[in-house]
């Protein structure tokens, strides 16, 4: 089961929080087997469009993070 962190949804005073961030994903059984297959050969899933995106990402400067 994914782990949820950070409190509960409704905040004191009635303000509603967004759904909490789930940090962990746990894979079992068939999901784990398929995941292992993917890990062994991830590049066969890469499309040209994604490879272009990866290339552009590598070429970006990091200044935008400031």
């Amino acid at each position: 089961m994914p782990v949820r962190i950070l409190g509960v949804y409704p905040k004191a005073g009635g303000q509603i929080m967004a759904k909490q961030i789930e940090l962990e994903t746990v894979l079992r059984g068939e999901e784990a087997r398929k995941f292992n297959e993917y890990v062994n050969a991830p590049t066969q899933h890469f499309t040209k469009e994604s490879l272009d995106l990866f290339r552009d990402a590598r070429l970006l400067s990091t200044d935008w993070r400031k």
Binding site: K11, A18, T25, L27, T43, E49, L53, A57, T62
Partner: protein, 174 residues
């Protein structure tokens, strides 16, 4: 409203960033996150949010955190093999990403994904980060977006979201 992608300004969310005008009718959760949780999460170092401006208008945002993928996969043979893969993987978690209603469909999402991978590639070199992971809405358009912009694959499904990942291990050599 047409936007010039080259004029977009990306920056880290600050306490002074005005998020009040942001609207995303496709997901109230995303809108609520930015307006009520993003700054507090950043103070608590749970997630970091990056905002995208066109001029003075906030048009999109995304939030990053660290995540983990655990897989209980074991080989059928009962020997301990030093080459067995680890079953705990660190991942950069794309916790939230959204574009303001009137600017959707113009490529801002893809520009944000470039920045997500820009961070991820650094992490793979600096602290170890094997995957980028995202909790995607159960929506064909959303799933296609991640397949198109990063070749994410589905690995797990919850009641309201689908977890998708892309393995960074071989990306840099492509």
């Amino acid at each position: 409203m047409t936007i010039n992608l080259n004029s977009l300004l990306f920056s880290k969310l600050t306490e002074d960033t005005d998020v009040s005008s942001f609207s995303c009718s496709a997901s109230e959760d995303l809108q609520d996150f930015l307006k009520t949780d993003a700054k507090e999460n950043q103070r608590q170092k749970i997630s970091i949010t990056y905002v995208v401006h066109s001029g003075t208008e906030l048009v999109a945002f995304f939030s990053l955190s660290m995540g983990c993928i655990k897989s209980d996969f074991v080989k059928k043979k009962m020997t301990l093999d030093i080459n067995d893969p680890p079953n705990n993987y660190p991942a950069l978690l794309l916790a939230r990403i959204a574009t303001k209603d009137e600017y959707r469909g113009q490529g801002i999402g893809r520009e944000m994904m470039k920045r997500v991978f820009n961070v991820a590639f650094d992490l793979t070199e600096q602290i170890g980060c094997r995957f980028v992971k995202v909790d995607a809405k159960k929506d064909e358009g959303t799933i296609r977006f991640y397949q198109k912009n990063g070749s994410f694959i589905k690995i797990h499904e919850n009641s309201d979201t689908i977890q998708m990942v892309v393995d960074l291990n071989k990306v840099r050599n492509e």
